[in-house]
């Protein structure tokens, strides 16, 4: 059995499993056998800041937040590229300038599209 090439791997696997499970088992044992359980309704309540929890935790967030976050990226990405563009502007050729303008136009187009769709109005 020891001659099996997978023998050492099996031993290591068992050791790794034990390393992970032994603390969990000890914690479980400690909680079940030694810890003094004194549960009550207040102790078992979910919230932990002294106040009683109200309502449900399953609430919906407005999708407008996500749309705003995405549109923010237009300005965010634009700023990242605009700064090096502005710094190197005097040394740029015509084709580089055109490429940059096309890029900015693409972003502006996205913004205009969102604007036309009414995403920018918070309702």
């Amino acid at each position: 059995m020891a001659s099996n090439p997978y023998f050492s791997l099996t031993v290591l696997f068992a050791a790794a499993l034990g390393f992970g499970l032994a603390p969990l088992a000890l914690a479980w044992l400690w909680a079940r056998v030694f810890s003094p359980p004194k549960p009550n309704a207040i102790k078992n309540a979910i919230y932990e800041c002294g106040l009683e929890s109200k309502g449900d935790a399953w609430v919906q967030f407005r999708s407008a937040y996500y749309l705003y976050a995405i549109i923010f990226l237009v300005f965010d990405v634009e700023a990242v590229f605009l700064l090096p563009f502005a710094v190197a502007f005097t040394g740029l050729g015509l084709d580089a300038c055109l490429a940059m303008l096309v890029f900015v136009l693409l972003l502006v187009e996205g913004l205009a599209w969102a604007w036309a769709k009414g995403v920018l109005t918070w309702a």
């Binding site: 003094p36 004194k38 207040i42 102790k43 309540a45 932990e48 002294g50 106040l51």
Partner: protein
């Protein structure tokens, strides 16, 4: 005790360490009393100072302030408990895991202190939850809080794990829930928890 104190010291000199499970258990508990992280008023500033390098509460194993009652062993009532805040304090105490201890820090936490006559001030947190150590002062100096912690450690050290006088957390019949007061028309209702605080008889 099976081994008497003299023999234990004699064995200790020979390099043999004798202990009992109770001593070992209490030694472990008293040296890692984790306080709950919350301050109520100006006493909290002294409490914060106590944990910092100058007074160094860590020397006594109580530096790990837990922001959750589930992980805390000790509640330091550091300051004035208003009637608005009292239900929250009592609920937090209830949510702490056993064994749990309470230090009432300063005149306000003990009795309402200088604000005792205030309509909105609770006249001592020991009306609702059992307090282990009271420290007077307005506010108490950090040394006083350390003294309170040491006093609490001595109390923990002296607790028996078995027998009639065993602490609450080892006694299945002992009370563990302390009702949270509610805001009434004129005062908190109830004005004190029964079994925690004997209502003094006012003679007019």
């Amino acid at each position: 005790m099976a081994v008497d104190e003299g023999l234990k010291i004699e064995l200790g000199k020979q390099g043999i360490f004798v202990t009992s499970l109770q001593e070992l258990y209490n030694w472990g508990r008293r040296n890692s009393v984790w306080p709950m992280q919350f301050g109520l008023a100006c006493c909290a500033i002294e409490m914060i100072a106590t944990t910092m390098a100058r007074y160094d509460m860590a020397r006594f194993g109580a530096e790990v302030f837990r922001p959750s009652p589930r992980q805390a062993d000790m509640m330091i009532i550091s300051g004035t408990v208003t009637k608005k805040m009292a239900p929250q304090v009592v609920r937090l105490y209830n949510q702490m895991a056993e064994p749990k201890y309470v230090i009432a820090m300063g005149a306000c936490a003990i009795s309402g202190g200088p604000f005792k006559q205030g309509y909105n001030v609770l006249k001592g947190i020991d009306r609702y939850i059992p307090v282990d150590v009271h420290i007077p002062g307005c506010p108490p100096r950090p040394e006083a809080l350390l003294q309170a912690l040491i006093t609490l450690q001595k109390k923990i050290d002296g607790q028996h794990l078995t027998g009639e006088d065993r602490p609450r957390f080892l006694n299945a019949e002992a009370q563990s829930e302390f009702p949270v007061p509610e805001q009434g028309a004129h005062d908190l209702e109830p004005t004190s928890n029964t079994g925690v605080w004997p209502v003094p008889l006012v003679i007019r």
